[in-house]
Symmetry: C2
Subunit: 460 residues, 2 copies
């Protein structure tokens, strides 16, 4: 069965790529209301595609937010393993548009890479598993396990709809393992299994100064400038050594163990590549931790956006009426994202000068995650990756957030296998996002092997 699936996949390389192009052309940006019709188009496209590859059920299901696409093939029977495969069909906004070398929603292959918004995050990666399942159903007539797909449309805006859906549909989603590909591997030769994800608390701070923009000549000198007030507060959220100054912020952070720091230090990470990927002259972060620890195993606070007053060409001499910042914090076990939102809110309110009025809102939150590296499904995934890449996976922590993973863990009680096929230089959330095409094809093979290994857990 495994070999028939692998042969089918090999014969369909061009067709698989053409289909992925069609999927990437849909600008399913979940954070912008104007793209709501594109989100719905992407969901319908996926359900149609699931039916075409032979799933026995495929539907677009409403949630409190964007729809979930659910599909299943359960004919391996109740005694077989059931794998729930998760992905997200929504993408980040493409701005700034002028920095893309080819348009974000017109996929283009250059060298070995496929360029498009969503190529790696996460349309290309979720498509891997659809193609692996197709390869079994069309190449061998059946699958070695039961399969359920759950593909959401608002991962980039907090997975609110799916969170509620998972809680409400625990029975339908019951599985023995959960498979997620939405993360990178260190290099094209080195597969990885992720065992930790950072959580997120995303805040928005709006400062109101005067009730309208004021002439800075007529009023300048006697009005607290809201941009100045906001900068003053934001500047005080970290100290000179990069420590976050919010009281209580670090209280629940689990210290890194010596053994784990050693394993992280052995990963193929080089500062030279970090500087090349980012274009910064030097790294800068929390004192006492390596760069890799800073970006995966320590909590952070970043300003994601900032706006006040006149930002167009030329000049305008005003005291702005308002200033606003988007600020997000990445969290590590065992920080509680709601508690962090409260600590941030209290601290910012305390620092804000009394001559302005501030509104502090929580935009969304996600729990951090830790996964048992020795669960049978994790070991099956390790065998599958080694079969395809010729090397055993390294175990990594990821700085990013997949909000729903914590919910799967808590609600479904099954191990979550985080088997990603992205690369560190994929330009996620940035212009010129790409997906390394050899990883697309190897990912399909690895998914075929994983399903076979999971099937063998019961029969073998």
């Amino acid at each position: 069965m495994r070999n028939a699936a692998l042969a089918y996949a090999e014969s369909q390389r061009d067709a698989f790529l053409t289909q992925l192009f069609d999927f990437l052309r849909i600008p399913s940006v979940s954070t912008q209301p104007a793209h709501r019709p594109d989100i719905e188009r992407a969901a319908r496209w996926l359900a149609d595609h699931m039916r075409a590859i032979g799933l026995t059920r495929a539907e677009v299901l409403p949630t409190t937010g964007h729809p979930v696409v659910y599909g299943e093939w359960l004919e391996a029977g109740p005694q077989a393993e059931t794998i729930l495969i998760y992905g997200h069909y929504d993408v980040q906004p493409p701005d700034p548009l002028d920095q893309w070398l080819s348009p974000p929603f017109e996929p283009q292959v250059r060298d070995d890479n496929l360029y498009a918004r969503g190529a790696a995050d996460d349309k290309g990666q979720l498509f891997i598993h659809l193609k692996a399942v197709e390869s079994y159903l069309k190449g061998a007539g059946r699958l070695p396990v039961n399969v359920k797909f759950i593909l959401e449309g608002e991962e980039e805006s907090g997975s609110g709809g799916l969170e509620a859906f998972v809680r409400a549909e625990r029975d339908r989603l019951q599985a023995t393992a959960i498979l997620v590909s939405d993360s990178p591997m260190p290099s094209p030769q080195q597969p990885a299994l992720l065992y930790a994800l950072r959580g997120l608390t995303y805040m928005e701070v709006t400062v109101q100064g005067p009730d309208h923009d004021l002439h800075s000549g007529s009023y300048g000198g006697a009005v607290r400038n809201p941009a100045e007030a906001l900068c003053g507060v934001l500047a005080r959220l970290k100290d000179e050594e990069g420590h976050i100054t919010i009281p209580g912020f670090y209280d629940r952070v689990r210290p890194l163990e010596a053994e784990e720091r050693e394993a992280l230090a052995r990963l193929p990470f080089t500062e030279a590549r970090f500087l090349q990927e980012t274009g910064v002259p030097a790294p800068w972060g929390e004192a006492g931790y390596t760069v890799l620890e800073q970006i995966t195993a320590r909590p952070t606070l970043e300003i994601n956006g900032l706006v006040s007053g006149y930002t167009g060409p030329g000049s305008k001499t005003i005291i702005p009426a308002t200033a606003a910042a988007k600020v997000s914090m990445r969290l590590v076990p065992d920080q509680d994202p709601e508690e962090i939102a409260r600590l941030f809110t209290e601290h910012v309110a305390r620092l804000m000068p009394p001559q302005v009025r501030a509104t502090i809102e929580t935009r969304h939150t996600a729990w951090p995650v830790l996964i048992d590296r020795h669960a049978p499904a994790m070991e099956a995934a390790a065998r599958a990756l080694e079969a395809v890449f010729g090397a055993p996976p390294v175990y990594t922590r990821e700085g990013g957030t997949i909000p729903i993973v914590a919910t799967f863990q808590r609600q479904l009680g099954a191990p979550v296998v985080l088997m990603g096929f992205g690369l560190p230089d994929d330009n996620l959330h940035a212009p010129n996002e790409k997906f390394h095409l050899p990883n697309f094809y190897r990912g399909i093979a690895a998914s075929i092997h994983f399903l076979a290994e999971m099937g063998a857990l019961r029969t073998g």
Copy 2:
């Protein structure tokens, strides 16, 4: 002659207003390249209008920037006084558009006020003098003095073109007094003569962090965020007492004399009205000075605009590639705007963290101004204002900047009479800019009286 002119002006009230509406409909925004054709349209409209009211010469003259409109009537002869009248036909950008109660370029009268961008700053005020001159030429057949108009199109972006023009055309512009209306009076009952203006140094700071926006999950914690770096620097430009911390900033500031502080304290300024005009819960400024001193007689530093990263609806989890701020400083005698630009640049460069790259540019500069309150032209203006308003003018300092006034003083060696008809609540540079219509008509009468008083200086 004076009475004939006054009678003519009285008979033409409706026609004058209709003409002003036509002028205000032209969106002559000088700071935005897209409005260049509107600037040129406004200039041609003014030259045509000058010919229609009887000036013997009227032309649109090119400068290094936007054109100057020059007009003259010199038939009072070489022995008579010559008054050079200045105004600017460009306006500020109208943003934010959604806060206007009527569209900015569709003038509307509500109660006693005319609402439109440029109504007070400065189209409505320069139009006063065109109507005074028309009243003499059409009502009496001649003027008691020679008159020259010089109307510029880039006051709101630094008067660069006019500055060069005045230097190059000193002979043509020679005058015994210069008349400017581009400032407010304290109330509709209380006329004013301005004797001091603040100068300006307008800077733009751009901070480059990574060379593209980065995923804040994958890189957050080890990259110096340019928005954070910029906020950190901006937050350190003032201390907790509102003093500007740039070394050397105050070195050339002329201290306020006790007599002047007493005169300022007698002006009809109330904090209650200040709070009402601005909508702030409390004033805030440099410790040791009254609000009126802070906004007119002390130098300031204000953030005019701030932008970084994602500022649209929803959220985006990035470390921005860049952050930028527009920062302007109002200056008082004897601060040198170019020197202040240098001190600002050095200080900001010194504060900027080494993990980001900053560009610091001077956008424009203007000298502060002081005028002799006892010059004959100032005394003629005082008599004209008292004749119309029934009260002698108060002598005020203005927090705003009219960049060209310093150049007139230096290049033409004539006293500059700053006789303004705006009001403190005109919403200059803000939504719902207005001009108090009774001031428009009284301004015309005052201008007629001033020209008569100036004529009487030689003959009387």
